[in-house]
């Protein structure tokens, strides 16, 4: 193929892409970028309402306690960007919490094997969700709804509704402890580190062939299948990632909050809300992983702000409802604007893609735009 593809290098590739700064600006102008601005605004508002929140110790604690929902949102992101839903997430969290409570007990020696078992269980549930969705062609909304009911019922039946007790402290340290005596922050909670790792892994994965194929499958699964992607397997893995993320959330929550059957309740909707707030489009094919995590932080910041402002806790639902409708409506308008062409990224002129690192674009005889 040497002649159809003149050799080129990274330089040429970059020459045909926008600069990093421009790409960043373009990104900020999308709903996926706007959520970061929203987050900053909310944090600022919280600090105004309660200046002590701005201290590094408080902030890092806040990040720590938001880690479980942010990790769940990251998991849900994989599924949503592939054009699916995972409603079983909350039940998976509950199941894992109870499994930890019942199987580990006070026995430190059991921590590792049970941890392993939990991960296997999480992967298995995701596998079932994924296979039923992709191979049996049942809409994932229904599959995971069924899984949510069945799983929760099974766990409750198995435990009679209550866990034996909190598991060994060494296990709970994962969600509760931290690295002590760090300058500036005081303590860096382990959840912060786990979140950072999860986000980094997720970010990396989304730039890997797997991640790009996942988005492609969410955008147009027929086309993805014809590029040789095993769409069923790509999607199934997304469900597995989601359940695994729920498992990690569960592990953190056991530490953070302890074992109780209501831990994890409603997590699926909170995670979906966070993802959508992060500008990820339901239906798939659009959106960034880190924005989903930022969506979770924005949501939590909002609740915290409401607490600090002394808003009656019963109004919290209402505020949340208004916020997600407004945010998604704004996002929809922003995509429309892009289509209509008044937005920055679409306005740039089209020209021929060049392979030589020599001259700028106007290489055609006529010049001007296009042919």
């Amino acid at each position: 193929m040497s002649r159809t593809m003149p050799p080129a290098g990274a330089a040429v590739l970059e020459q045909n892409r926008a600069g990093a700064g421009e790409r960043f600006l373009r990104g900020l102008a999308t709903p996926g970028g706007a959520v970061f601005l929203l987050l900053v605004a909310l944090l600022a508002a919280i600090i105004v309402a309660n200046p002590s929140f701005g201290e590094p110790e408080s902030l890092i604690r806040f990040i720590g306690r938001t880690a479980p929902i942010a990790i769940a949102a990251i998991g849900q992101y994989f599924v949503i960007v592939a054009g699916e839903f995972d409603l079983s997430m909350g039940s998976v969290v509950t199941m894992q919490v109870i499994v930890a409570g019942n199987l580990i007990g006070d026995d430190d020696a059991k921590v590792l094997p049970v941890l392993l078992l939990m991960l296997v269980l999480g992967a298995l549930i995701g596998l079932i969700n994924g296979l039923v969705t992709t191979l049996l062609k049942v809409p994932s909304f229904i599959v995971t709804l069924g899984m949510m009911l069945a799983l929760f019922g099974l766990v409750m039946f198995w435990t009679g509704g209550a866990a034996q007790g909190n598991p060994a402290d060494s296990f709970r340290q994962i969600g509760r402890g931290g690295i002590q005596d760090v300058p500036v922050f005081g303590v860096i909670p382990y959840p912060v580190i786990i979140l950072a790792v999860a986000a980094a892994l997720g970010f990396w994965l989304m730039r890997r062939p797997y991640g790009r194929t996942l988005i492609a499958a969410g955008d147009n699964s027929a086309a993805a299948a014809l590029t040789g992607a095993r769409v069923w397997w790509v999607r199934t893995r997304a469900f597995m990632l989601s359940s695994l993320a729920a498992t990690v959330s569960g592990i953190l929550l056991v530490g953070y909050a302890g074992v109780h059957p209501s831990v994890g309740r409603g997590y699926e909707f909170t995670a979906i809300t966070a993802v959508v707030l992060g500008g990820v489009v339901l239906g798939g094919g659009r959106g960034w992983l880190l924005s989903a995590a930022a969506g979770a932080f924005a949501l939590e910041s909002l609740f915290t702000l409401l607490n600090f402002l002394g808003v009656e806790s019963t109004w919290r639902d209402t505020v949340q409802g208004v916020i997600i409708i407004v945010a998604v409506a704004a996002a929809a308008r922003s995509w429309q604007r892009r289509r209509r062409g008044s937005a920055l990224p679409a306005r740039a002129e089209q020209h021929r893609i060049t392979a030589t690192s020599a001259k700028p674009a106007e290489g055609t005889e006529q010049g001007g735009n296009g042919y």
Partner: protein, 385 residues
């Protein structure tokens, strides 16, 4: 053929034509008369042996049940609100063990149970089903909510069979007996008094409540809130859905804005998370009231905080079946069977912990089933049918 449930009549329900007392009732849970009554009942003397608190009652009107006296096994129909929380689960296990005893004794032939899964509409249908299809000799009803279930309970009463209502009440006294511990106001008084005694004016109490709209829970807060207000304690309340994650976040945020000296809870669920929030924030542990759920008692013991465990007597789940036994024996039963409701103070903590050794965290110390056949395995394993 037009069939109308005969009991749906003009005058059921609380309100009379044209009046709308519901409108005033709905935001105001506080009821001075009931408050005073329960306040007194806290110190009242209970008839019967303190070794069997589930059979104790406060002397009062008795229902004559001689007309129900009959031999042989009777079929009991139980319309349960749900088993959706640890307290109800524990009680449900106890009830089933009690059932076995009565079945062995030949008093009860079988108990058919329908579980309404916290749904008023379902429970109404369940009761109607029992009336039409159940061949029931007696009804036991644990109402899901007060006003909505009143007509259905009345319909059950109209069958002429004995009706036993327990836990939450209904707005009718047609039932043969209504079994309940003293009540929410007593809980509120016990817990709020405990806290106010140990706190000073201006101190802050965070109140963690499960959910709005359930009368037994609302009354707990109504009483406590009143007492806190009288004593100048600053109290902020939150609904948590019993989710420890929420509880921990709420306390953390509260601690971030200022110090908290007391924690008040309307149920023990999630108490551990509340205490841990103080630990994690490195603050002094609060004075606290929880419940006799073992998770709380254990954490209490472990941290050595200054605490009280108010009790909403879980052993009341034994009483309905025992009441049925009495009814079919023709023995009179209290029209309103008020069971003792004694908080667990620090002095008794060790004792209760010891008695419940090996039970899961979601178990309730005052479950009252130590003399039942399945003890302790059934509760330890939380086996339910």
């Amino acid at each position: 053929a037009c069939t109308t449930d005969p009991s749906v009549t003009e005058d059921t329900g609380t309100a009379s034509e044209g009046a709308s007392p519901g409108a005033t009732e709905q935001t105001e849970w506080f009821d001075q008369a009931l408050y005073d009554e329960q306040n007194e009942q806290r110190t009242a003397t209970f008839e019967g042996s303190p070794d069997e608190p589930w059979l104790q009652y406060i002397a009062g009107d008795m229902t004559d049940t001689s007309k129900f006296a009959s031999e042989g096994g009777h079929k009991v129909c139980f319309a349960n609100a749900s088993i959706s929380n640890p307290w109800r689960q524990t009680g449900w296990i106890t009830m089933n063990e009690q059932l076995k005893v009565l079945q062995d004794e030949g008093v009860v032939s079988e108990m058919e149970t329908r579980d309404a899964k916290d749904n008023d509409n379902t429970q109404i249908a369940d009761i109607d089903y029992f009336i039409n299809e159940g061949n029931c000799d007696a009804f036991i009803i644990s109402p899901n909510s007060t006003a909505a279930l009143t007509p259905a309970v009345e319909r059950a009463c109209e069958t002429g069979k004995p009706v036993v209502v327990f836990d939450r009440g209904v707005e009718t006294d047609c039932a043969t007996t209504f079994i309940h511990p003293i009540g929410g106001f007593a809980w509120g008084i016990d817990s709020a008094n405990f806290l106010t005694e140990r706190l000073q004016e201006g101190d802050k109490v965070v109140a963690l409540r499960i959910l709005p709209g359930v009368d037994v829970l609302e009354q707990r807060w109504a009483a406590a809130e009143k007492i806190f207000a009288e004593k100048g304690i600053e109290a902020t309340d939150y609904f948590t859905n019993a989710d420890p994650t929420e509880i921990k976040k709420i306390i953390s945020d509260e601690l971030a804005t200022g110090d908290v000296q007391g924690v008040w809870m309307d149920a023990g669920d999630g108490a551990v998370a509340a205490i841990e929030a103080f630990e994690d924030a490195g603050k002094d542990l609060p004075v606290m009231t929880g419940e006799d759920e073992l998770s709380f008692l254990r954490k209490w013991k472990e941290t050595g905080i200054d605490a009280l465990a108010p009790v909403y007597s879980n052993f009341q789940w034994r009483t309905p079946l025992l009441a049925v036994q009495k009814i079919f024996a023709g023995e009179e039963v209290p029209a309103e069977w008020v069971l003792p409701q004694q908080p667990i103070p620090a002095e008794e903590l060790d004792d209760w912990l010891e008695r419940n050794d090996g039970m899961p965290d979601g178990h309730y110390a005052k479950f009252g089933g130590e003399d039942l056949p399945g003890y302790p395995d059934v509760w330890q394993q939380r086996q339910m049918p």
